[in-house]
Symmetry: C2
Subunit: 195 residues, 2 copies
DNA sequence: CCTACCGATCGGTAGG
DNA sequence: CCTACCGATCGGTAGG
């Protein structure tokens, strides 16, 4: 519910949709909820946006792009693999802290898109996955990382671990994004066991 | 769509609901879809079940209980922490392999329950979390695991990593649940870095 | 940007 | 377990 101040724009609608989808998920948020949030009747939203699904698509794509933008330079930095993994995790946590709700939407709710739109998103998800895949493969090739029977599991579980932070991270919590990133990087690199 | 053979029971309805909720999520699966799956008209489902939400609640609770049953004895086995973590991960993967779809529902879709029902589920989720918390704290206390500034992050990220396997595991894939469990346990215990 | 409304679909029920 | 239907809500549109 907006108290009648300022113009409504596609950006404002997206912003409120991020919040609502993040809290309650796409299928259970109605155009009437979004309308209430920006102070418009449901039908009037279509002056600014073309459909509910288009709204979701934009949110998901931008949500993933934020991560690509932040992590790609780290991967291409030429530093040793361990430093790059640490840097990638740190960059991931920075983006997460800045876009928790959008990340929640991007990570899981692309499944509500039509199959054509899912293809667009899948391409971006693959690019994200390849970033971690590169660090890991190059790290194993250089001997910085240990050889392992199933490096794919390491890639997917590292990403899964990072994305799972979305489910419990809170900007108001006692753990900062940097704290969490450091702890995650330590665990990923040296493990839990006493060396 | 069932081809008119055998009696319909609450169990059959639950079984088909697990599959449908797992594939498409609770809010976008209608009672008409479930009816089609078991060969009943939507209204007739209410002979066997009391409500759609009750159906979800049972699926989620049983889904979590499967994990509690499998992992609790491992945690209480009295073995060293590293062996128990390995055993807990292995047990987790066994349950996952046997109940992929139910796990998908249990992990994320409890959010669609009413707040009273969410409380029931939260209690079970906490019990699950405490299992890993115990292994980790006892491992640190005994010196089997390294001291770390934020053990909570290790607990939550380990669980997050395990639950994320749900999103890419396939019984038809080349990686068995045991393969994945071993790789995860190695990564969690000794990390990626060359020692 | 609102008024007024569309057809479709939702979970669930009464009465048999 | 079906027939027949309930009120509510859905995303979206025509016409102004």
């Amino acid at each position: 519910m907006r108290s009648s101040s300022g113009p409504v724009s596609a950006e404002l609608i997206e912003q409120e949709a991020v919040r609502l989808f993040g809290e309650r998920t796409y299928p259970v948020v109605g155009m009437r909820d979004i309308g209430d949030a920006v102070g418009l009747l449901p039908g009037s939203l279509y002056v600014h946006i073309s459909s509910k699904e288009e709204l979701l698509l934009r949110i998901v794509e931008r949500g993933i792009q934020n991560y690509l933008d932040a992590i790609t330079p780290v991967v291409e930095s030429g530093e040793p693999a361990a430093a790059r993994l640490r840097g990638a995790i740190s960059a991931h946590m920075s983006v997460l802290a800045a876009t928790v709700e959008q990340t929640r939407v991007a990570v899981h709710q692309w499944t509500y898109l039509s199959s054509e739109n899912q293809k667009q998103v899948a391409a971006m998800r693959n690019r994200y996955e390849e970033l971690f895949d590169r660090i890991l493969r190059e790290g194993i090739a250089s001997g910085d990382f240990r050889a392992m029977p199933h490096p794919r599991v390491a890639v997917l579980s590292t990403i899964g671990m990072l994305n799972s932070v979305t489910e419990w991270y809170s900007p108001d919590g006692s753990l900062t994004a940097a704290d969490i990133g450091e702890a995650l990087a330590d665990n990923a690199l040296v493990g839990l066991q006493q060396p």
